[in-house]
């Protein structure tokens, strides 16, 4: 299998989180954890569009759950815009 090397820059806190999670999940190295993360991300983006939207909806809800509805959020945005 032909491979290429891709270099990337991480912030210090991202690097620390990567190191921590790689250890917790038993990855052999940060590089292996990164490769898995990239593959997972590419798999998400390759899903059929409605499935991708469903997964993205779930990710949004898991990462930042909120009690405010879309209606309420948009009202707040309108009010902000009107202040300008």
């Amino acid at each position: 299998m032909k491979v290429v090397t891709v270099a990337t820059k991480l912030t210090k806190s991202e690097d620390e989180l990567l190191r921590k999670l790689a250890r917790e999940y038993g990855f052999l190295s940060k590089g292996e954890a990164m490769r898995n993360a990239v593959r997972l991300y590419l798999n998400l983006l390759s899903l059929r569009s409605d499935d991708r939207l469903k997964v993205l909806q779930l990710i949004n809800d898991m990462i930042a759950p909120s009690r405010k509805s879309s209606e309420e959020l948009m009202e707040e945005v309108h009010e902000e815009e009107d202040k300008f």
Binding site: S49, L53, I63, L73, M74, V77, H78, D82
Partner: protein
């Protein structure tokens, strides 16, 4: 499409499964089309930010929105002028006026059947546009 229905794409709440079905219908059915103002991208981004979503997730959500067969209509002078008239003559938010004016401007050219919005906007804008709520849309 009014942006609050687009925010539902990235939240789990009433109507959020249906909006995915609607976007899927727009993507897959030849006689379906979706149009929203390019301004919606900023409003959705701001709503997601207010909802506490991190930057990278908002960027991904916006990229996702752009991937579908949806048109992001430019804000041309005619739309701005009509929106100005609406703001000057009614108790209406500037962005509601912009979205209503965008719909009215493109209704004929894009053969639009209705202005998709949430219940609040339905009440507020129904005398200006052919307002339709998510529940009223049949995708099957």
């Amino acid at each position: 499409m009014e942006p609050s229905v687009l925010v539902k794409l990235f939240k789990i709440e009433e109507g959020s499964s249906k909006i995915i079905d609607i976007i899927n219908a727009i993507d897959t059915k030849k006689d379906w089309a979706g149009v929203t103002s390019v301004w919606s991208l900023l409003e959705v981004a701001r709503a997601l930010r207010k909802d506490g979503k991190p930057r990278d997730l908002i960027v991904l959500d916006l990229k996702e929105m752009r991937k579908h067969r949806m048109t992001f209509a430019e804000i041309v002078d005619e739309i701005l002028q009509e929106a100005e008239q609406l703001v000057a003559s009614r108790e209406i938010y500037a962005s509601d006026a912009l979205h209503a004016a965008t719909y009215r401007h493109l209704r004929k050219d894009c053969d639009l059947d209705g202005f998709l919005c949430d219940d609040k906007h339905f009440e507020r804008l129904r005398d200006l546009v052919e307002a339709v709520t998510i529940e009223q849309v049949r995708t099957a």
